[in-house]
């Protein structure tokens, strides 16, 4: 396949990605214009945009986004790093895997929101409890993806390292981590994505700032335009995060040929 043809396909992909949101916007405006729903519960797109502009103008939106991002970053770093090290150890040691693996898999089945009352009891109502809550969300994708990546490093590479008598550090940095990198990066992407989703949940509890708080408080005050503006912001930031991570993934894994045959 020639390079120009490939490029044309990519442009088509990008164009297609805009069609569905556009259709949603048209359906949304039509539902409002046809008065299928009350404007109080399905706020017109233009009103949501005006609300966004107002929130941005007063500085409320920026402050709330910054608060949420700080929490996401702290929770992500805590949860993803714990998940990474545990996943790495489980991938390297089958004994640890047999001991800890079933417990982690069982814990993953517990709905994280059900843990919130306990988290409040153990860590209080301040920032720590929110960061812990987010870190739980960040932990699971990281631990499983890292484990999968590490245990999936081909046996022949491991044996080769043994033949060359690689020491532990060299073995890790030259064989295991590069081999597991694609899976680890997928873990990072999912982990960060879930952290961003969990921040909204974390801010339901005793928060005074953040995008989630802004939405919950607006719901209590029957200001549905702010709730919808919050949804829009969450979507845009989540999407941007994903794009940034995809770019990083492409750069880091330049050497990899991805599953669809295109060079990453």
């Amino acid at each position: 396949m020639s390079k120009s043809l490939l490029k044309r396909f990519e442009w088509k992909d990008k164009l297609l990605a805009f069609i569905v949101p556009l259709l949603v916007l048209v359906a949304w405006q039509s539902a409002v214009s046809l008065q299928l729903f009350s404007e109080m519960i399905l706020v017109p797109p233009l009103t949501v945009m005006n609300t966004l502009v107002d929130l941005a103008r007063t500085g409320d939106l920026t402050n709330n986004i910054i608060s949420s991002l700080k929490r996401v970053l702290s929770g992500f770093l805590l949860g993803a790093s714990t998940g990474f090290f545990l996943g790495l150890l489980m991938g390297l040691s089958s004994l640890l895997d047999r001991f800890v693996g079933p417990l982690i898999k069982a814990c993953k089945q517990v709905p994280q929101f059900a843990l919130m009352p306990l988290i409040i009891l153990w860590f209080g109502i301040d920032e720590v409890s929110k960061v812990v809550f987010i870190s739980i969300g960040a932990f699971f994708p990281m631990v499983f993806n890292t484990y999968q990546g590490v245990s999936g490093v081909p046996k022949k590479y491991r044996e080769l390292a043994r033949v060359f008598n690689y020491k532990s550090f060299r073995y890790l940095t030259k064989v295991i981590l590069p081999g597991a990198l694609p899976s680890i990066i997928t873990g990072v992407r999912h982990s960060l994505g879930l952290s961003w989703m969990f921040v909204v949940g974390a801010e339901l509890f005793g928060s005074e700032s953040g995008v989630g708080y802004m939405m919950v408080w607006a719901r209590q005050l029957f200001q549905i335009d702010i709730v919808m503006a919050g949804l829009f912001v969450i979507g845009i930031i989540g999407f941007t995060m994903n794009i940034i991570l995809q770019i990083i993934e492409k750069r880091v894994l330049r050497w990899r040929v991805s599953f669809d045959g295109r060079m990453a």
């Binding site: 729903f37 409040i120 509890f205 005793g206 005074e208």
Partner: protein, 345 residues
């Protein structure tokens, strides 16, 4: 023959009118209450009386009108959303949320006060040095913001020379606030009468509004959607009539114990409920009169909500409160003089 010719159209008109009148009844009356904070889908007060005595069901039994009762666990905001989505005809809930809903554009009418005496209880961690409201200065207080608890807490603070700015309010639901108090992550909690943490020694009661003026306490009221009231004024009056029957029963001293037993259905404890009712003037608490005192209270709530940024615009309380249904129902029941209207406060 000519005579018949004149009578016929009149008879036809009357017949059409009768059909039209017969059609002017709803298939269902959708009535919402606050899902109780104590954990069970029952209502205390007049809504509880209406349910237990089947007053609404009996009122419309012969009309073939179904009563659809819903308890909204999302409390006041949930009822506001239900009104906005056209899922409710009537809703009985707290003062601040109904004001927030109306200011947000809900097409509702306030047709009946249903409770004028909901207390709040302020509890604090046992190890804290807080022993009075004044000691709350600079402290972290959990409260469900946007509810009557938030409003009444403000009144209590102001009466003690403090404002909301002198404390740090943390917005928590009742159950989360109890966890937060138990963990010591907030200093105090302004909540409902039920206080299991005090019974367990995990918190101490520092203040409640039982001895405060009636006007400080939380209120609730019955709203009807403008659409329903316009289409079915007679049915609206009859719903109000059922509620007034309940208020009449609840206002009688001889029913105090039965009223407490009814409140227990919500999951509240007997001891705290009895204490909460002790000394309360039931006639004043359940008076269905939208008297001048009530109107003034709602004007004050609108001002409070606006000044705190809880609502974006004010509205005219005088036109929102529609006394006509209650007045007609009171007359039918012969209870016009049972309750005394309050002009002040």
């Amino acid at each position: 023959m000519k005579k018949w010719l004149t009578v016929l159209p009149v008879a036809a008109l009357l017949f059409t009118g009768l059909i039209a009148h017969a059609e002017e009844k709803p298939k269902v009356i959708r009535y919402g209450s606050v899902g109780n904070a104590f954990g069970k889908p029952y209502a205390a007060g007049t809504d509880g009386v209406v349910d237990v005595q089947a007053l609404l069901v009996n009122e419309f039994r012969n009309d073939g009108v179904r009563i659809e009762r819903t308890y909204y666990t999302a409390t006041g905001p949930g009822l506001n959303e239900a009104f906005a989505a056209g899922l409710l005809d009537f809703g009985d809930y707290g003062d601040l949320p109904i004001v927030v809903g109306k200011a947000g554009g809900l097409k509702t009418k306030y047709i009946l006060p249903t409770n004028k005496g909901s207390n709040i209880y302020i509890i604090a961690t046992p190890q804290s040095k807080i022993s009075s409201v004044k000691d709350l200065k600079g402290k972290k207080i959990a409260v469900t913001k946007g509810t009557y608890l938030h409003l009444t807490l403000n009144r209590v603070l102001e009466a003690n020379g403090l404002t909301e700015k002198d404390v740090k309010l943390v917005n928590l639901s009742t159950s989360d606030a109890q966890n937060a108090i138990a963990a010591g992550s907030v200093d105090a909690f302004a909540g409902l009468p039920d206080r299991p943490l005090v019974d367990q020694g995990l918190a101490k009661l520092i203040y409640d509004t039982r001895k405060d003026p009636q006007k400080w306490r939380g209120r609730s009221g019955l709203l009807v959607s403008e659409d329903f009231a316009r289409k079915y004024p007679e049915f609206t009056k009859r719903v109000v009539k059922a509620k007034i029957k309940a208020a009449h029963w609840a206002s009688q001293e001889k029913n105090r114990e039965a009223l407490i037993q009814l409140a227990l259905k919500t999951g509240s404890g007997y001891k705290v409920t009895k204490e909460d009712f002790a000394g309360q003037d039931l006639t004043a608490k359940y008076s269905p009169l939208a008297d001048q005192s009530t109107v003034n209270q709602y004007k004050e709530i609108v001002d409070f909500a606006f000044s705190r940024g809880l609502i974006r615009k004010k509205f005219d309380v005088d036109t929102w409160i529609d006394k006509s249904f209650a007045e007609a129902a009171l007359k039918e029941l012969g209870l016009q003089n049972y309750w005394t209207p309050l002009s002040k406060e």
